[in-house]
Amino acid sequence: MAGFFTRGIILEQRKEPALRRKLRTFLNANYANMLFESDLPCDGAELFGEEIIEIARLARIIDERDGMFLHEKLEKARQMEAKVLVGDAIDDEPYVSSQLNPLLFLQKEAGEGLRLAAKAVGNPKIYFAIYKNLSDVDLKTKLPKKIEGVEIRRIHGRYPAEFRTMDDFDGQGPTVLVGICSLIHLYRAVYEHRIQSTCFVTVAGRCVANPTNLEVSIGMTPTQLFERCGLAEEPGYVVVGGSMTGEVCPDPDSYLVGTMSRAVLALRDEEKKRRYQCVGCGRCAEVCPENLTPFYINRYIEQGRYEELAFYDIHRCIGCGTCSYICPAKIDIAQNIKQAKAEMAKNRQKKEADENAAV
């Protein structure tokens, strides 16, 4: 029921057919199978918690959720005595399925990886988390209740669901979220001593002929990925990092895909430039998951009255983009807020520097 009352937007997920298709690999031969040297045994059962963290450090695994090093994250979780460890496969943005697809097709590696991470943290409860409202996942890929004996929790509610994950595990003590892809890499590091040289990426969008999830070598370009999957037509523009919060990639020939990329989308340039003025309907305030009033924030930004923004709690904006999505006047509210926040931070830094200089 929690999901019914949450704010946000209901999105068409558009994950198919990439989600149902088998995960494919697309590796650069020079970097495949890079191993690190270690005397530790290649068996998870024989390792102690500290040793697993040490292996994560040697393998240089990065968590695709937030860009943290996995060993730092596990160390921190160990120190704060985390009670719950969640393998995060919540792909709540349309088109993106680069966490869910590896979880479904590399079940053993993901499950064992989560167990290893749990051992490193000090045996907390473990779960997988998947978004509930995957509207277009049909019965064929109906998601299991358990994977490798680990319970799957479905995160309910409307679009920005990922930031609400903590609330689902609230009653059980300190919770730590770890991305699925980094868990798979942890498994490989422990059992094969492999350095993380690949990442999982969804290649999708209107212009892609065969939308697929790929495991690619770090450092490939979007153009190479499109060659692998085939382009149905010349893309209008290329987006890296998800359809709601990603960024336009101005040069797909030289951009390097990394751990945090998660998705490479080739989209059609079909939206015409709209020149509506804000009609003041207030839909942005209705959908904001943080219960802010983007209408007034945007208006004060346009007027340049930055001193008013603190009153409207602009710092609590999570940048999910629901306000821009719903806006009938097609105003880039989320983008404006992001820029204003950056500018305010810059001004603050400048002020502090001036004060320090004066002292």
């Binding site: 937007i9 020149r275 509506y276 804000c278 009609v279 007034y296 609590r316 821009s324 999505y325 009938p328």
Partner: protein, 337 residues
């Protein structure tokens, strides 16, 4: 590469300002059809004249401001269509046209155009017409009397049941006629069945938010039911007031005007209640028979204040919530230690 820089998010909702306004227009079409049925082609011509005046003055204002006109911005058409519906079908053309020009030029564009207006343009245009030509606006032709399509149609006009109510008397109309809209009244306001259908259409399409109309109609119905201003029982008073008054039409089409409506849902609830309160007070102590437009203009003033107050309350609640949450988690970790 695209001609303009696309910005996140790259998927957008299909609704636009155009579809919102188009929904309003679609909702008004049955009202125009009923007006045509009762009063003939003059009803449609009044609408056309008003829309033409609104669109032309809107275009002129935009050009004078040095902006480029945008053909998808059809808010002027909505304002133009709303105005004649509130007036008698025999209103002279110059009244409708000047009301519509006043609404666009002096209410909409003086404050900065779309979404910036401090007062509801259609309500202000109606108030302007009532203040300048009360006799013409409130003199109604009988249904099916077909006033002449062109020129003045000042013959055979009389006041309707709304005037009786204003005078403190009970209208003598048949109840069925009242419910079907077959009585002397403004050309678009008399068909309560059609109006309620329009409300459901607009709510379903999301063109009107539910909060303001909900409290507005709740307070209005309660006030009319419990404190009738005529010597009649509550239910009868409700039937008379709802069928003859402008507030049903206003609550559906004017109250939800996006530019003047507060943005937070809590302040929308209060706003609706406030509009109802003012309408009732104006009915009791006002000097004209249709008071909703004036009450709405007064309510418009409080829109921003309500939003600011609601935001202040929200800020406080947010901080209290975060404080209790951190306190609870601290307590838990202390227990564990």
């Amino acid at each position: 590469m695209p001609q303009y820089e696309p910005k996140a998010p790259y998927v957008r909702s299909r609704d636009s300002a155009f579809t919102m306004m188009a929904d309003m227009i679609i909702a008004m079409l049955p009202l125009y059809f009923m007006a045509f049925y009762f009063y003939g082609s003059r009803a449609l011509l009044l609408g056309l004249a008003s829309v033409a005046a609104a669109v032309i003055s809107d275009l002129a204002c935009i050009l004078l401001e040095g902006k480029t006109p945008y053909f998808r911005d059809i808010s002027a058409v909505v304002t133009g269509m709303l105005l004649p519906l509130m007036m008698s079908a025999a209103t002279p053309y110059y009244v409708v046209v000047s009301a519509s020009v006043f609404a666009i030029v002096f209410v909409k564009h003086v404050f900065g155009g779309v979404g910036q207006c401090a007062f509801n343009p259609a309500a202000a245009g109606f108030a302007f017409a009532v203040s300048c030509w009360p006799a013409q606006v409130f003199a109604y032709p009988a249904p099916f009397s077909a006033p002449g399509a062109f020129g003045s149609a000042a013959e055979g006009l009389s006041s309707g049941p709304a005037w009786n109510l204003f005078q403190g008397g009970v209208p003598t109309n048949d109840i069925l006629d009242l419910l079907l809209g077959k009585f002397l009244g403004p050309m678009g306001l008399t068909n309560i069945v059609v109006l309620v259908t329009c409300l459901f259409y607009l709510l379903f399409r999301g063109a009107v938010s539910w909060q303001a109309p909900a409290t507005f109609f709740a307070v209005m119905v309660l006030a009319v039911f419990l404190f009738p201003r005529i010597p009649e029982t509550g239910p009868m008073s409700l039937v008379y007031e709802a069928t003859t008054g402008m507030w049903v039409f206003g609550g559906i089409f004017l109250l939800g005007e996006p530019g003047t409506l507060p943005k937070r849902s809590s302040s929308r609830l209060l706003y609706g209640a406030l509009a109802a309160l003012f309408t009732v007070l104006f009915q009791r102590f006002g000097q004209v028979e249709q008071t909703f437009a004036f009450a709405l203009l007064l309510t418009n003033v409080f829109g921003f204040t309500l939003d600011r107050g609601s935001e202040r309350l929200l800020r406080r609640l947010r901080r209290v919530y975060i404080a209790t949450k951190t306190k609870r988690s601290e307590k838990k970790s202390a227990q564990r230690a």
